[in-house]
């Protein structure tokens, strides 16, 4: 992709907690209207990376740029105000707020306020379930409904790049399908997506490019047209088994802070 269409650009980011370095120098970029899938076994740094990008977790090195502007020194509210939204993994949202209140709150950002009613119409159209649930507290909803609300809140923030961490976790296949369709619809409006998930079907249905994270490094990447083999994919998900080939493919190994 050419430089002027790059929205989010992550360069050589390291992150971790205390002495434990979880992300060891990851670089990736997401273009306008593009969807990038983040694959890899659990506990290898995907969530830590995503949290570091939006300032929810500590970032120990590297740069993050959004539309050419450095955002790695900004706080989360400022990052979101610039158009980078993040729906964290297993997010419980606000259990004692109603669905309506949550959506309304998500649209109170400066960048979202003027289009709040239009976006509300959009998300209620995408997730009709939320209409009937509007007056109910979020804590009383099922996991699937809550995940839909989380994505809807992400959209209400009117971002230019939306990060989704495990959006299908714990959801039934039918619900996954609904969410996939919705996300494809949103993508079509020009929104960029960075998605980590455990469901390969889902990811490859959604994304243009993929990137595998193992032991805090990217160990492979490609486009969804050149789908990896089942063997390779098992390796991505369960880690290690086929590591020699996967590791060899690592294009950007910077030996950070081992």
């Amino acid at each position: 992709m050419s430089a002027d269409t790059v929205r989010l650009s992550v360069t050589n980011v390291t992150a971790g907690y205390g002495k434990l370095q979880v992300v060891n120098g990851i670089s990736l970029s997401v273009g306008r209207g593009e969807a990038l899938a983040l694959l890899g076994p659990n506990g290898h740094g995907k969530t830590t990376l995503l949290r570091a990008i939006t300032g929810l977790g500590p970032l120990t090195g590297g740069t993050v740029e959004l539309d050419g502007e450095r955002i790695d020194r900004l706080g989360t509210p400022a990052i979101v105000e610039r158009g980078l939204m993040h729906v964290p993994q297993g997010c419980t949202l606000f259990p004692r707020l109603t669905v309506g209140e949550s959506l309304n709150l998500a649209g109170r950002l400066k960048r979202a306020r003027r289009v709040r009613s239009a976006n509300l119409e959009l998300v209620l159209g995408l997730f009709p379930k939320l209409v009937e649930r509007r007056g109910q507290p979020v804590g009383a909803m099922s996991g699937g409904e809550r995940q839909m609300l989380a994505i809807a809140m992400g959209i209400m923030a009117n971002p230019s790049v939306l990060i989704l961490d495990e959006p299908t976790l714990g959801l039934a296949p039918k619900v996954r399908h609904e969410i996939l369709r919705t996300l494809l619809d949103i993508r079509a409006t020009g929104l960029s997506l960075l998605v980590a998930d455990g469901d390969v079907d889902f990811l490859f249905g959604l994304a243009d490019t993929w990137c595998v994270v193992e032991l805090g490094r990217t160990v492979g990447r490609g486009t969804t047209e050149e789908k990896p083999t089942q063997e390779q994919m098992m390796a991505m998900f369960v880690g290690g088994a086929h590591a020699p080939t996967a590791l060899a493919a690592g294009p950007d190994e910077e030996d950070g802070h081992a």
């Binding site: 939006t54 706080g75 979101v80 729906v87 997010c91 606000f94 707020l97 998500a106 950002l109 923030a157």
Partner: protein, 289 residues
């Protein structure tokens, strides 16, 4: 026994109103930051002295004095958050540190009040000393005023917290800080406003307090304990619980003083508190699902 009912109820009305005003701010801070502000009683005392200065010394009409004092105290509350709470709250052992710091702050406030206003008793003159009659018992109009203030302000706060965007962001920060920040809410600002609102409410509580009893620099511990007891009784999570708890404690106190003896009322309240904690410890601190 029944002949005491009216005076007990009137007394309950006054005490409950005072207690709900004392506790509402504390409850707001607790539900947002999950800390107890041990300086809350001291803030109330400062508020009371401010009202006294503005009305008795500067000669301003009482309502104006209360208004000015409330605004000043809101500023002081914000300052406390900024200087004392903020640097400590983000530490791993933040809750304990904040509580110890506010405890120290209470001592600081006591000394400061003594330096500024001296150790003598002060009393704020009530707006009116007029009374009216219920079943042969003279009731002060100020009791009615206190009730209206309590229900109006605490009820108003409930409306603000439950119906406005500011209220929603307070609840959002309390329930899920990360997600709140992802919606552009700055937790620091929310905390600041919560401390300001809490101090403002305490100042109105101070009006009732300072007209019913005298002010001395060391009097802050009384209201603080009452606030603690109300928090446990009414459930710490909701302002409605605060309101109910405040009047319940007011009733227990009024009835034990009337029927058993004045010195037994705090013991009765605390003993009941311990019993309640033993029987339903989680029940009383449980949040609404």
């Amino acid at each position: 026994m029944l002949d005491g009912l009216v005076p007990v109820l009137v007394s309950t009305l006054l005490l409950g109103s005072m207690y709900s005003l004392l506790t509402a701010g504390m409850s707001l801070i607790w539900s947002t930051l999950q800390v107890f502000n041990y300086a809350h009683g001291a803030m109330l005392i400062i508020g009371g002295y401010l009202i006294w200065t503005l009305s008795s010394t500067a000669g301003l009409p009482l309502p104006l004095a209360v208004l000015l004092a409330t605004v000043a105290m809101a500023g002081l509350g914000a300052l406390v958050e900024l200087v004392v709470v903020r640097p400590l709250a983000s530490r791993p052992d933040g809750t304990l540190m904040v509580m110890v710091a506010t405890l120290a702050l209470a001592g600081l406030a006591e000394g400061a009040v003594q330096l500024i206003w001296g150790p003598e008793n002060k009393q704020v003159q009530p707006v009116t000393t007029a009374t009216f009659d219920i079943a042969g018992v003279a009731v002060r109009w100020t009791t009615v005023l206190a009730f209206l203030l309590a229900v109006g302000l605490v009820g108003g706060l409930m409306l603000v917290v439950n119906r406005t965007e500011w209220g929603a962001s307070i609840r959002a920060v309390a329930q899920n800080r990360d997600m709140a920040m992802l919606l552009g809410i700055k937790p620091g600002r929310v905390y600041l406003s919560v401390f300001a609102a809490s101090a403002a409410l305490a100042t109105v509580g101070a009006l009732v307090f300072a007209t019913t009893t005298t002010l001395t620099p060391a009097k802050g511990s009384g209201p603080l304990l009452i606030a603690f007891v109300v928090l446990v009784f009414g459930g710490t999570a909701s302002l409605m619980g605060t309101l109910v708890g405040a009047y319940a404690i007011g009733f227990i106190e009024a009835s034990t003083s009337y029927w058993i003896g004045l010195q037994w009322s705090p013991v009765a309240v605390f003993v009941l508190l311990v019993v309640v904690m033993l029987v339903r410890p989680e029940g009383l601190v449980r949040r609404g699902s």
